[in-house]
């Protein structure tokens, strides 16, 4: 805990201002500092990383151990079933790790320090960058293991990459705001899924449908409307998160 406080304090005093004069850091610099601080703290403990990777592996194995032995010699799973299974793994794995960025600040009691040193928007962007990076890694790892173990056939690989990328962005944006909310509540981990699920539902529905299209090798024009909806979701959540986050963070 002290380690985390020291990291935060030292990092900010070094990177953002000198004691004598206090020039306001630009938003980009401040956000980058928050991101780097989070990354450094995470690499020291590797708590979220370990939890996420192990959770994702365990769930993929859980699916594969029961279904994988069936794959040889019998009917393969339909693309839709594969898409649903993949997204169940991704969704719950994301929920285990995404809350960490804010909950950690509250449990280590470094949140007040961060409030003093960085503007809310910089905290949001920094944490969002960190969460996006974490989620991108998780998505790549999970999809690869899932694909290998389930001998997945991907008909339209570029489409799959676009879907996973956009959905990760949307997932990271929404969960960053929800994590900021629940970090200030009493029963943090129990609240995350119920709060996140209703607002993530549109994203999950479209993501599953488009992943299904990608697995079954649909052409781009078939998936275009879905991709547009995913972009709309990302933009909508980004805008509302930027508006609401300062109110949540200062609460």
């Amino acid at each position: 805990m002290t380690g985390a406080i020291c990291t935060t304090a030292i990092w900010f005093s070094r990177s953002m201002h000198t004691p004598t004069e206090r020039p306001q850091p630009t938003l980009a610099r401040a956000s980058w500092a928050v991101f780097q601080k989070d990354l450094r703290a995470e690499l020291r403990t590797r708590y979220a990383l370990n939890a996420l990777v192990m959770f994702a592996l365990a769930t993929v194995l859980m699916v594969s151990i029961n279904l994988g032995s069936q794959l040889l010699g019998s009917e393969p799973l339909t693309p839709l079933v594969n898409a649903v299974l993949l997204w169940i793994v991704l969704f719950f794995a994301a929920l285990t790790g995404m809350a960490r960025a804010f909950v950690q600040e509250e449990t280590a009691q470094t949140a007040a320090l961060l409030r003093l040193h960085a503007p809310p928007l910089a905290v949001l962007i920094g944490k969002w960058l960190f969460n996006t990076l974490l989620l991108a890694g998780l998505t790549i790892l999970t999809t690869l293991t899932f694909g290998l173990l389930m001998s997945l056939h991907v008909g339209n690989l570029p489409l799959l990459l676009v879907v996973l990328g956009l959905s990760s962005l949307g997932l990271a944006t929404t969960t960053t705001l929800i994590a900021a909310i629940i970090a200030q509540a009493n029963v943090r981990s129990a609240l995350f899924a119920p709060l996140a699920f209703p607002v993530l539902l549109p994203l999950l529905v479209i993501a599953v449908q488009t992943t299904d299209l990608a697995f079954s090798g649909a052409a781009w024009n078939q998936a275009l409307a879905n991709v547009q909806l995913l972009v709309a979701y990302v933009l909508l959540t980004a805008a509302s998160t930027m508006l609401l986050f300062p109110l949540v963070w200062e609460a």
Partner: protein
């Protein structure tokens, strides 16, 4: 007091009219009457969502505790009305469509509302500090509300193929009917249809269709269609299903386009007595909503005044 008595009498009147005034719907019998209760409660549960978002935004702007009371009271009402709408809808769905839950677009939408309301209560109960509780709850309500427009685009896509396709009652679904010429044979779902003849009487077109399901005997159904108004006149029930056989279109070459359709799929509000009762019910429920909401806001205000929070 006056409001209480007036609303009570009004709702009794609506309930009586629902059974005495409203004619039984074709193909539904008395089941169709539940619509008089079901639709207003569903509309109000959506309205409550809007009301709570408006007061939440106002709370975040002005920081008046009474605005938070108003938002919370709206969510409470919304939760209540959502449950009412879901239960009445599920009863209707069971009787008419054969299962309590079908993942029809509106069912999905109301489920999301129910989840949002539930999450809102869970969040409030997990925060001790009053100001923080109000602020975070308001932020969450607004965030959930911002997702609502997207849902209207996303939800209709569900009906297409993925979860529970039931083409017979989803207007947007892609259930393909069949076009039959005289003596033609085709399958509609699991029913085999044979068109034995078409009769024209003025604008009225009546088809003699032999319907067979599984290994059973064929039954003769005579759906009819008015080419002038473009409306189905007779819609016989398909044996062994919950659906009716309808003529969708009469083509120039003498063939007809047939499809199956669930009862209760068409608006009954063209009937003046049904429309009147429906509007009265909507008014009554809105009054009820407003009255309970007001009462809850007053109670919460009193509670605030009686505790330390009122002194701050």
């Amino acid at each position: 007091m006056t409001a209480k008595v007036a609303i009570t009498l009004w709702m009794i009147g609506v309930t009586a009219a629902m059974f005495l005034l409203v004619p039984a719907q074709q193909g539904l019998g008395n089941t169709g009457r539940i619509i008089i209760f079901h639709v207003p409660t569903a509309w109000l549960s959506e309205l409550a969502f809007l009301v709570s978002a408006v007061w939440s935004a106002l709370y975040l702007w002005k920081r008046r505790p009474v605005d938070d009371d108003r938002a919370l009271a709206a969510v409470e009402q919304g939760f209540l009305f959502t449950i009412l709408a879901t239960v009445t809808g599920a009863i209707f769905a069971k009787v008419v469509w054969g299962s309590f839950w079908n993942w029809d677009p509106r069912e999905t939408a109301i489920l999301v509302l129910l989840l949002v309301y539930g999450a809102y209560f869970a969040l409030r109960s997990a925060i001790d500090d009053l100001e923080r509780r109000r602020q975070l709850a308001a932020a969450y309500a607004l965030f959930a509300f911002a997702m609502a427009p997207l849902l209207t685009f996303v939800v209709p896509r569900l009906s297409d193929s993925t979860l529970h396709p039931n083409c017979a009652f989803l207007q947007t679904a892609t259930c393909k009917g069949i076009t039959l010429s005289a003596n033609g044979v085709g399958a509609l779902g699991e029913t085999i249809l044979e068109l034995r003849g078409i009769r024209h009487e003025g604008d009225l077109v009546t088809a003699d269709v032999a319907a067979r399901r599984g290994g059973g005997d064929a039954t003769l159904l005579q759906p009819s269609y008015n080419t002038h108004t473009g409306q189905q006149v007779v819609q016989p029930k398909l044996a062994g299903t919950n659906f009716m056989l309808v003529i969708k279109q009469v083509n120039g070459d003498g063939s007809i386009f047939l499809n199956q359709q669930a009862a209760g799929n068409q608006s009954q509000l063209g009937n003046l007595r049904t429309l009147g009762t429906f509007l009265a019910s909507l008014l009554g429920f809105t009054g009820l909503f407003w009255w309970i909401w007001k009462l809850r806001v007053n109670v919460m205000g009193l509670r605030r005044e009686l505790t330390l929070d009122g002194l701050r």
